[in-house]
């Protein structure tokens, strides 16, 4: 097998969010990612799917993990990968997002992967370029590849997604991971709960398809998956919650709180973790944790996404 073969054709030119994807679209990508896992586990990891293609990682917000995951995914598929951290270059010179997009577009890339601190920034950029665009996180809006890798991890460990109860816990308000996961998991038939204090709960979240809980005991009851979210340091000193120790006491995942969930419940975290704030180290490194596996699935899902989008690229 020299290339990742299409199982079913992906219908979209860009991947800007989970919103707008059908269950079939999502399953197409997950099935493809299963193949990519096999590729990544061989000694010869290089494929020719994206040979000759140029992939630009355009990160307006620093991220080691997502950026390196996309970089590896691109390289394993044979693309030339260029990393650009814009927060340290042109923005300081007053160049706008659109200018940056137009400049990069003129270099004729095939795919641009974008992360930006503002919701909607990736949509704006996608309107101005000719190539395929992947959203690697825009503000508190969406982070579709994270939701895909989470779904892949769940499916491989539980054998299914439909019918599972997934509790997403912590800072829902500022979380793009929560939004993308709510959309994806509910589309695939899981029961999604969000658990956190009222100050970190966005208004109307239940109308996105999640059930809302304000304490860990009721929120984790009978949960199959406990997904913890990162709480930013600047939000734990009085603005949203009084202190990190109070937050850990009420919403931090430790052995005691994990017992509220099903016995075989599995624990996830999109990283990077604040050990001792939202999650105890014994849980993060314990037998129920899928956190390291999520990282491996991340590369596979991103390979699947890049390969799927490449099918729409012109070939002459």
């Amino acid at each position: 097998m020299s290339e990742l073969r299409p199982i079913q054709k992906f219908r979209h030119r860009h991947l800007l969010g989970i919103e707008g994807l059908s269950a079939a679209d999502i399953l197409t990508l997950l099935d493809r990612a299963e193949e990519a896992i096999e590729v990544s586990r061989q000694i010869e990891k290089k494929r020719a799917t994206l040979r000759g293609r140029t992939l630009i990682n355009l990160f307006f917000e620093a991220s080691t993990r997502t950026q390196s995951s996309f970089e590896l995914a691109g390289k394993r598929l044979g693309a030339d990968v260029m990393n650009m951290s814009v927060s340290t270059s042109s923005v300081k010179k007053g160049e706008t997002l659109i200018d940056t997009a137009m400049t990069l577009n003129a270099m004729r890339p095939d795919i641009i992967v974008v992360r930006h601190a503002q919701a909607g920034a990736v949509h704006l950029l996608a309107k101005k370029v000719d190539c395929a665009v992947v959203n690697a996180g825009d503000g508190a809006h969406e982070h579709p590849t994270q939701a895909l890798l989470d779904a892949l991890t769940i499916r491989r460990n539980k054998g299914r997604i439909e019918g599972l109860t997934v509790a997403i816990c912590g800072d829902i308000l500022h979380s793009r991971v929560a939004r993308s996961n709510i959309l994806l998991l509910s589309t695939l038939g899981a029961r999604v709960r969000v658990v956190g204090p009222s100050t970190l709960m966005p208004v109307g979240i239940e109308r996105m398809g999640a059930e809302c809980f304000l304490d860990m005991k009721s929120g984790l009851e009978d949960a199959d998956i406990v997904m913890m979210l990162r709480l930013q340091r600047e939000r734990m000193s009085g603005a949203f919650v009084p202190s990190s120790r109070e937050y850990f006491r009420t919403f931090g995942l430790d052995a005691e709180k994990l017992r509220y969930a099903k016995k075989d419940a599995l624990v996830m975290h999109p990283g990077p973790m604040n050990r001792g704030v939202e999650i105890d180290s014994s849980i993060a490194d314990g037998p129920q944790s899928l956190i390291r596996e999520q990282v491996e699935m991340g590369v596979a899902v991103r390979m699947a996404v890049l390969a799927a989008l490449a099918e729409h690229l012109p070939n002459d």
Binding site: I98, Q118, A119, A140, R179, P202, G204
Partner: protein, 436 residues
């Protein structure tokens, strides 16, 4: 733009129209006779045959003849933001939209907090404007919300009202003293109520903001500040105008205050009456407004309140923004939309949808502002200034932003289907706009 020559004392008549006097609330066939910029006669007897031979006659072909519109909130760019708008371009847009009087916002650079700036605006308007421009002066020096502006001197110079534009006065003590002092001069205080401590939001709080990942502004941010102001109005007795309300919570407060007999009036914008938060769609920054567009339920409450008269006035909230400040991620983009040229057409959507009568719509854009400001305009009456418009409420068109007269093209009605357009605009008996 002055397409018709005018001879001193030459009578001018608009004939064969539907006269809409928003005060009387009814329409009748007839004409209007104008001499020296003033309405001298009107009614069914004003017909072409009955006029003297030297009179200039314009046949309106059955179109509506109404008082020119008075817009209580528009940004005209001068001084200091001429790249966004000038008095020439703003008044050209106004004339094309049937607006014959603009109240110019004070948040210019420098702000309108000195009598000399009021004077500058009046002279610039006289020299370069097609329609009347009335300056609104600042409530506080430098719009800083701390020290009272020279309300007496500014009023004497020609300021018709006082406002800190889009900023709310955070300090209740400052507001109380300003209201008390303004009362002594019978000055009108116009206040934009949005608690500045909630200002981190960029759109209406709710499901849609949550889906878009944008920070919301709750309705309460507006109502909290308005509730405070209403108590201070009760304390001081000052004339107070809520410059732009967007929520049913505010409407409840205004309704109660009016019932209690307080000297309170309020306005909403044409955008808030005809659009809702869902129109933001895929992060359309032309719909980023302050206060934010609310839910459809709130929009309907505004329309209802307009029909009942709880809302007195409709403003364009004309705020020209260039591409550099709008072609940005939603959170970073500036607030505001242009509206002078489209406010009547957009308002007619409500009439065509059967949500409000034509007379009520026109009253909220002419008679009520005139009453609040103590202006003689806004009426079809003998002796009133001949600030008049002719429009066909039914003529359909598709809005082409490039044809708009404003220097900026940030219209939320970009390529929208509109029904009803202004064919002729007259200020003091002079034709300043005539549709091709």
């Amino acid at each position: 733009m002055k397409t018709l020559p005018s001879i001193a004392h030459q009578p001018l008549a608009l004939v064969n129209g539907r006269l809409l006097d928003p005060g009387a609330g009814r329409q009748a066939r007839g004409g209007v006779l104008i001499i020296d910029g003033v309405i001298r006669d009107l009614g069914p007897a004003v017909v072409a045959d009955a006029l003297p031979a030297h009179a200039q006659v314009i046949d309106c072909g059955g179109d509506v003849i109404a008082p020119g519109l008075i817009d209580m909130c528009a940004f005209v760019g001068e001084p200091g933001a001429e790249h966004r708008e000038t008095i020439a371009t703003a008044t050209a847009a106004a004339a094309a939209g049937g607006v014959t009087t603009i109240l110019a916002r004070p948040d210019t650079n420098p702000p309108v907090d000195e009598p000399a700036v009021v004077d500058f605006l009046l002279r610039r308007a006289r020299d370069t404007g097609l329609v009347r421009v009335l300056p609104v002066a600042a409530l506080t020096r430098g719009l800083q919300g701390a020290e009272m502006a020279e309300i007496g001197l500014l009023k004497e110079a020609g300021a018709v009202a006082f406002s800190d534009a889009a900023q709310s006065l955070r300090n209740a003590q400052v507001m109380r003293r300003i209201l008390a002092y303004a009362k002594d001069f019978d000055a009108l205080v116009m206040h934009h109520t949005q608690d500045p401590d909630f200002s981190e939001g960029v759109m209406n709080e709710g499901e849609y903001a949550t889906r878009l990942g944008l920070t919301g502004i709750p309705r309460e941010a507006e109502a909290i500040m308005l509730d405070r102001d209403i108590r201070l109005v009760a304390l001081t007795g000052a004339r107070y105008h809520a410059a732009l309300v967007s929520t049913s919570l505010s409407l409840d407060a205004v309704r109660a205050a009016k019932t209690a007999g307080l000297p309170i009036t309020c306005a909403t914008s044409i955008n808030h009456l005809t659009l809702n938060e869902n129109d933001i769609g895929d992060y359309r920054t032309f719909l980023k407004l302050s206060p934010p567009l609310r839910s459809e339920g709130e929009r309907q409450a505004l329309v209802q309140a307009l029909a009942e008269g709880v809302i007195d006035v409709i403003v364009s909230d004309h705020n020209p923004q260039d591409v550099e400040t709008k072609r940005l991620p939603f959170t970073e983009a500036e607030y505001g939309a242009i509206g002078l040229e489209t406010m009547l057409s957009a308002g007619l959507r409500l009439v065509h949808a059967g949500e409000i009568s034509l007379a009520r719509l026109v009253a909220a854009m002419s008679l009520r502002p005139a009453e609040i400001l103590g202006l003689p305009q806004g009426r079809l009456a003998i002796g009133a200034p001949a600030d008049l418009i002719r429009f066909d409420p039914d003529e359909p068109y598709v809005l082409d932003p490039l044809k708009l007269h404003s220097r900026c093209k940030n219209t939320p009605f970009d390529e929208a289907k509109m029904q009803g357009r202004v064919k002729l605009t007259m200020v003091a008996g002079e034709v300043v706009w005539e549709a091709a």
